[in-house]
Structures are given as structure tokens and as C-alpha cells.
Symmetry: C2
Subunit: 170 residues, 2 copies
Amino acid sequence: MATETQKHLVAASEKYAESFDKGHLASPPAKKYLIVYPVTCMDARIDTTAAFGIDLGDAHIIRNAGGNAKDAYRSILISQHLLGTKEILLIKHTKCGMLTFSNADARKIVNEHQGKEVIGPEFDFEPFGDLEEGVRDDVKWLKENGGVVEGAVVSGWVYQVTDGKVKQVV
Amino acid sequence: MATETQKHLVAASEKYAESFDKGHLASPPAKKYLIVYPVTCMDARIDTTAAFGIDLGDAHIIRNAGGNAKDAYRSILISQHLLGTKEILLIKHTKCGMLTFSNADARKIVNEHQGKEVIGPEFDFEPFGDLEEGVRDDVKWLKENGGVVEGAVVSGWVYQVTDGKVKQVV
């Protein structure tokens, strides 16, 4: 029995496929030497295509809670070394949920919901206390850890969910 | 000195912000009990908003190489337990790059590019050999590992990059 969400997905997909004409796009991003490659938050309020000017086929987009670089590392390696992207834009955003809890808070909530300890004290939810510092720390981590391709430009940005603007931090 | 990609981001953002009127959206996804929560690939060819009918603010979107459940786990925990999502749709896609290499291939390529061993044999790039089996394995892993919220519906899908259609696998 399909859920309402599943029905919605199927209906949206059918409508989308009716006028779909991008079946020819290749796997590596088209802007091979001019890659927009944002590591952006999974936040529901961010429309990466419109807000960051990314057309279908242009760039890899990684999204996870907090726009976290470490969590994106496997995908970054694959994007850069196997699919040839040259540049990384790391984007976090204002009013991010990751600014509002600690590891201990999150662990307690999950374990209480589940009625048993499914998350131990070693698990890192990667929260951060300051937005711009979080961006700087992640860019630093990417530059220093040895996996980012030689010559890649890595920059860090903040997207403002209240006015739709983006500003460069580093 | 800004790169062409950075200039493109700033220009797209300025244009977007001019007509932006969604500054009021809250952090938890609006469809609180009807959550579309796709774990979708970072592939440049997938427009999640249009293809899956997700409006701004509706759903969390996690994107990583291969639409990988393990890599998305931290984000899934945060989405479900701290931001109240109830349903998970895991989506992989045809012609995925993850079907085309092994862990040994990827490790060799990265280390050759970097001119030293930055990736050891323990690193898992999470490639998979069969698309539908990959979807089933990830859904099974999510259901069995104890962190997904009680009562959450987890379904698995394949998006077809050549015709824009989606079909349910599990």
C-alpha cells in the first residue's frame, strides 16, 4: 500500500518525465574546468539550483546535515578523482539546526526515542557553535587532509535563509 | 581573486535574492507527517525539486555519491529525531558512476593523483555492482540498524536518468 508521500513522488515524476529532454547528459559535470561543487546543507529551505545558479548537469551537489565536510569526504573524493571536478564551494547557512544542540543532547534524544542505546558516546553528530567559524574549520580541514585534488580552489560561504543571499567567508 | 565559479555563484545569488520571498520558512520540513525525504545521488543530472515534486521547505534532501544510506546516517538521525521527519525515500539512479569502479580502482586513482598514499585499503568508497540490489541492500540496512525512528516507512526507488522517470524497487 503506497503512502501519500510515495504517491506524491510518483505523480510528480510522471509529470516531470512528460517534458523531460535531458536524457543525453553525461555523468561527469559539464563545466569540467569551471565546477560549482557546493557542499550544502540538507535543509529543506535551500533551492540549490536557483539560489546558486546550477543548471542540470553542471555540478555535483552534496547535501548533508550542516554542510559538513567530513561527512562529504567519500563523495568529494569520488567527484574530484573519478569525475574530474576542480573546485569546491562549501556552503553552510544561517539558522542551521546544527547550531542548536550538542552531541550529548542529540544522543539523549535519539536513545530516548528508540527506548534503548542505539547511539554511543563516540558518535559525532558534528554540531557547531559558531557559523562562520564552522565554515572556516571545514575549509581548513579539506585543505589540510590530503585528499582534495592538487590545485583545487576551496572556498567557504554562508547562505542567508532569511533573504536568499550568499556571502563569502573564506 | 574570485574564480569564474565563485563569480557565477555571486551573480546567481544576487538575482535569486531579488525576488526571494521565502524568508519565513521554518527549519523543520513543512510536511511534518507527510515527509518526502529522499536520499539521492550527488549526480549532476538530477533536479530533485522538479523530478520528485519537492517544494522549498517541504523535505530534507540528502545527496551523496551513490545515494548511500550509511554515508547519510548522521543526517538521517538528525532529520528524524531532531527535526521530526517520519518517512524515508531512498533513491539511486541508472548510469550511476558508483556501478563503474571497485574500491581497489578508486584507491589506486586517488593515490596516483596525489602522488602518495592518502587512502588506505580500509577506506570504503561504497561502490555497488547491481543497481536494484544496491537499493534493496541500503533499505535493509536502514531498517535493521536501529536508528531509524519507530514506525518510519522506508522505501527504495530507481530514477532513470535517460527518461526522467522513477520506479519503486522496494
